[in-house]
Symmetry: C2
Subunit: 320 residues, 2 copies
């Protein structure tokens, strides 16, 4: 990933701590947070300073490593970290790996390295869906900001861009937290043309023939192919199906859940609906848009029947 | 309609001018605007101080009456007013009526009275779709704020509420202009329970069985039953169809277009996407959420195959 023209990762070890790009401040401010303790990591995940299912897993792995160095037990560390975000399966997957590790820091680093390599492989695999001049619609942020590097849904877009293809991305704003603005920001860092649209607009654009391909990420994909992803994904999958637009999900192995555990849909705070982050008079601010009663389910489930295919580290498949 | 417990209309004659509830200031401030000239009315429509297809028609009628009193020709008045908003058919319908009127002020008043009576009739007709304990989802604002009184999509909800039924309304936020917050505000004025949700959430709520009925308004409905309405309506119609939730459109006669003219989809300003209205430190403010390239189509078209029925002044029908 490039930030201000410099290749970096979203999470990196630096001496006795790790640093992460603070996504709660983006796209208004580019700042890096130092995480030194278990509590630092848990708070960063819960308050979405780090977000995106694969990155949550990578951060949680470092959270365990830092916790052990603080003298916490592995059980305590895993309990605290598992409670931060309920839907992303990568979190539990990473904690399970850390439980079995002999060298926690080496394991956390391995999880990060594998995530970056896996995402790069997803990009290579998805490249065959791309062509010069293509218009791709994506929802939420499943780019390098959501992973250690390259992203999942955006990895094929970066691969195509690096290969010299012209790609234009329709970016869903993704209320209530506007992660689409993160997607726009990271695409801009790489010079990939893009247009932000309201979450309401994607169906209309598909009706107008302005979308050639949809690619989204996932927080958890079942063995049967059902996809939990950011709220609103299901609506775009319906529109893609209704307009014969191919709808693909980028799925790293760490996001696959072969258990029968029901999808747990996280209900997030009312404040996310009631306030919007932005800039007022040049300074970051949150504007209060309503005091009305609100609901804020954070994910929905797109049934496998609406998914054209899955882009994995090992190729594009029609089943998981 | 009730504002702070007092029954009023959204547009009323007051001496030599008309007053309208300023919807650009809602829900943060309740203020009434005096419109004295053609230019006042044209600006109020264009900048959405008055909005909602039926109310745009009623305001335009008064715009013609005020223009004639100023000494403008009817042709000039109609040209200026017709240019304000391209999609709502009611605007052209009202201007045609005014062209044929002998007493412009009496005709404008008649258009307002008929709109209020028509919406009340839509409410009575739609009452048969309602039942005690029902959960209704609506998109945008097609309540009394969008009409002279009662509303279109919300009229059956008010009718049910007045009849003593318990009704709960899921209110789509309706980015980019957040007209859902107007819907929440007007429902609150009447004490109708409601919950604001992100535009992304409706499909998930339908999958969960939490929506019994969808009712939306329309800016233009074709003789073949295709419905132009606020951007995002089509996505909710797809989700309703996928989950066997009845999807109804409230259609006053003035919103029916029996011509073959293509739907013209208004592209509104980038600023609507880039900024969000709200309150910062107790004062109305607009927060800038992005400087990215944006697109802002204001309407989409829901094909008749996704519409369960149409609620009109003369009853609920399966075709227009």
């Amino acid at each position: 990933m490039k930030v201000a023209g410099i290749w970096r990762r979203t999470i990196e070890r630096e001496g006795d701590h790790v640093i992460v790009l603070d996504q709660a401040a983006l796209p208004f401010e580019v700042t890096w947070l130092a995480l030194r303790t278990l509590d630092d990591v848990a708070r960063a995940i819960r308050d979405m300073h780090v977000r995106g299912a694969p990155l949550i897993g990578a951060a949680a792995a470092w959270g365990v490593a830092l916790a052990l160095r603080e003298g916490h037990t592995i059980d305590h560390a895993c309990r605290v970290l598992a409670a931060t975000r309920p839907t992303a399966v990568n979190l539990r997957w990473a904690l399970e790996r850390m439980r079995g590790a002999r060298d926690a820091e080496a394991e956390a680093q391995a999880i990060c390295d594998e995530d970056a390599a896996g995402c790069e492989a997803i990009g290579r695999a998805g490249l065959r869906l791309m062509r010069d001049g293509i218009n791709v619609l994506t929802h939420c942020n499943a780019g390098w900001l959501a992973t250690v590097d390259w992203g999942t849904a955006l990895a094929p877009i970066y691969a195509a861009h690096e290969a010299g293809m012209r790609v234009h991305v329709w970016v869903d704003e993704t209320r209530p937290r506007n992660q689409g603005l993160l997607t726009a920001w990271e695409l801009a860092q790489h010079g990939v043309p893009h247009t932000v649209i309201a979450d309401n607009a994607g169906g209309h654009l598909m009706q107008q023939g302005k979308v050639d391909l949809c690619i989204v990420g996932t927080d958890r994909t079942r063995g049967n192919g059902d996809v939990a992803n950011k709220i609103g994904t299901y609506l775009k999958a319906l529109a893609a199906h209704d307009n014969n637009v191919p709808f693909y999900v980028a799925v790293p192995a760490s996001s696959i859940d072969r258990s029968d555990a029901p999808f747990e849909i996280e209900e997030r705070s009312a404040d996310e609906m009631r306030t919007v982050a932005g800039v007022v008079a040049g300074k970051p601010a949150r504007v209060r848009v309503t005091d009305s009663p609100v609901a804020n389910p954070a994910f929905d489930v797109t049934p496998a029947r609406l998914v054209t295919g899955y882009i994995t580290e090992t190729g594009v498949r029609t089943a998981i």
